[in-house]
Symmetry: C2
Subunit: 362 residues, 2 copies
């Protein structure tokens, strides 16, 4: 089923993508402004298709930004990076890309593929490879499902395009692209993996673009009625509110191409009721009074109590009043093979056991 | 005119390439062992052709190693890197590479293209892009002459191949390939530039492979007669002996992917007669008692007094008894455009004026 995304949808989409970003994926406001500008300049709308609409033998490709959100919020794109990436890959594989795929539905990376779709006149599939945002390249369902990371294209804002022709593992893709992204100034445009329709359909988490829009609409509805949206947002993702309180401490550094750090919150009216969260671009593990209450791949989302807007890890600061939502990960992230990559062990916490929240994101 | 390089030529070639390496280009002994092994295993010989033998519209490509010689002498290649690079580039540009070009005639990089020629069944052109060795990618006559650095291929020893599809300058090629080379362990196989026959013929320094062989044969002749070859070697390159003495101090560090440092020599019998040399993979500037006597792009070559073998910057050590030879650079390196890249200013010595030695290398 084909539908469209127009100027009427951008605000809700950005709000929802921010929530699913679990702190990362790039600030969705930046992506939203760009998408709105492209929609105004070109007229028209972004064509959204279901995964099932793509032919088995079609060639499709995912696009998004690589880098630390602390950088990408200030270092804007030149604008033609995705076009250059896709054209370079098409030349390299001697085939036309017929649809674009969202690599991660979280943050700005949910919206950038829509911009690229408009620029290239290509439809975008409703779904993504993470059902949230993750900091590293090997952490998507395509890589976990065995789709080769190569060829993959990386572009800077000066017109330089690099194609990774052969890569022996998704971890290698992450290693080499990360060092180049840092050299490119801390953020770069990435296009990978190039895959067939059937590879995409086998591995994609379906319907996450629609979920992001619905979450954003829930926030907008709550704003209109002056209510607090976190319960309703959590319910949409089959999750629950984990904590309400004030940020009292943030430790953050941009290192090795990531925004890494730790966050402390105190409940309203009870200074002994504390939540701590560690992050690597995205929120990874939440402790409530010393007990783990949520870990990757389940989603830990921080929303401003003021307006229900998500708070990225790059925007955390002392005094913010927030709710912390936990939502179960999509089922595709909870197989043993996936958990080895996107569970606590994949982030350097071998002693933390993943205790899944009940249910699935969708 | 086509000729061959066989097992009878490898010793002389390695000796001469070492001398023209001016301290860098990788240890030629490593390259020689590999070439000899390939010649023995495959039989046959390397076909050497003149630049003029290549058709104007042929596609040719240069190959060599990137990295610090301190690394590449210990971290050997897997062996198939050049094959993978050339095949990837052929797929990318939709053309067959018809001949290989030597990027730098100095050190191991003079010999590696011959190995690749054997592996791929391709002839190698007698000539190169430097008429010596230089540490950085933008420092060859092809780049200086305006040949695009892209597409270019870089391979590690695990089978990973990266193609630089578009690059906005040769300096960018250096910047991005260097950071990847470091991430690949400090040395990597490079293939660039891909060019037409006419681009190659317009820019190549002709006959340098033959010059390297003749220099090596001169050393071998001197060894047979128990004489010291440095005067005869210098004469072949239209240069002269600058100094004879003992190494009394070496300061060397492998940093940012290069072997950088400074060297001090004292003349035999006169402790006040001193030469100092700075290097970045290759020897850059020589001071004799405080006066500059030779600078890049002219060649500063250090030969062991023992056997006439060149001494790479990675092999410099206290107590070595050596001669220092100066030779004028090839005329292609002395145009104003070239000197801006390979003169002292290109190496971070804006206050040092290039005072060329008389004549040209060939």
């Amino acid at each position: 089923m084909e539908r469209e995304i127009t100027l009427n949808d951008t605000v809700a989409l950005a709000l929802g993508a921010g929530i699913l970003g679990t702190g990362g994926g790039g600030n969705p406001y930046i992506g939203r402004l760009w998408l709105e500008q492209e929609l105004k300049q070109r007229g028209g709308a972004v064509r959204i298709i279901d995964a099932g609409d793509v032919a088995d033998d079609a060639t499709v490709c995912s696009v998004g930004m690589m880098g630390a959100p602390t950088v990408s919020n200030e270092k804007l794109q030149e604008g033609g990076e995705f076009i250059r990436n896709i054209r370079a890959l098409e030349q390299h594989v001697h085939a036309s890309i017929e649809a674009l795929v969202i690599g991660e539905i979280g943050g700005s990376n949910a919206i950038k593929p829509l911009v690229a779709g408009l620029q290239l006149g290509l439809p975008v599939v409703d779904g993504d490879g993470m059902g949230r945002a993750f900091p590293e390249l090997q952490m998507d369902t395509f890589s976990i499902g065995g789709v080769s990371s190569s060829p993959m294209a990386l572009s800077d804002d000066y017109g330089n395009v690099i194609i990774f022709h052969k890569l022996d593992s998704p971890k290698r893709a992450e290693q080499y692209a990360r060092i180049l992204t840092i050299e490119m100034g801390g953020s770069a445009a990435l296009s990978m993996p190039v895959m067939t329709g059937v590879q995409m359909k086998t591995n994609i988490i379906r319907g996450t673009l629609t979920l992001a829009q619905r979450m954003g609409e829930t926030v907008l509805t709550a704003r209109r009625s002056n209510t607090e949206p976190s319960e309703a947002v959590a319910a949409l993702g089959n999750g629950r509110v984990l904590f309400r309180g004030k940020i009292v401490d943030v430790e953050r550094r941009t290192t090795q191409g990531f925004a890494r750090g730790r966050l402390k919150l105190v409940a309203f009216g009870d200074p002994n009721d504390v939540m701590e969260i560690v992050f690597q671009n995205e929120n990874l593990i939440a402790w409530h009074n010393g007990e783990i209450v949520c870990t990757v791949p389940d989603l830990i989302c921080i929303l401003s109590l003021e307006d229900g807007e998500s708070v990225g890890t790059e925007s955390l600061r002392y005094g913010l009043r927030v709710t912390v939502i936990g939502m179960p990960a999509a089922k595709e992230l909870k197989t043993p093979k996936a958990l080895a990559v996107v569970g606590p062990v994949g982030f350097g916490y071998p002693d933390v056991t993943f205790q899944p929240m009940l249910g699935n994101l969708l």
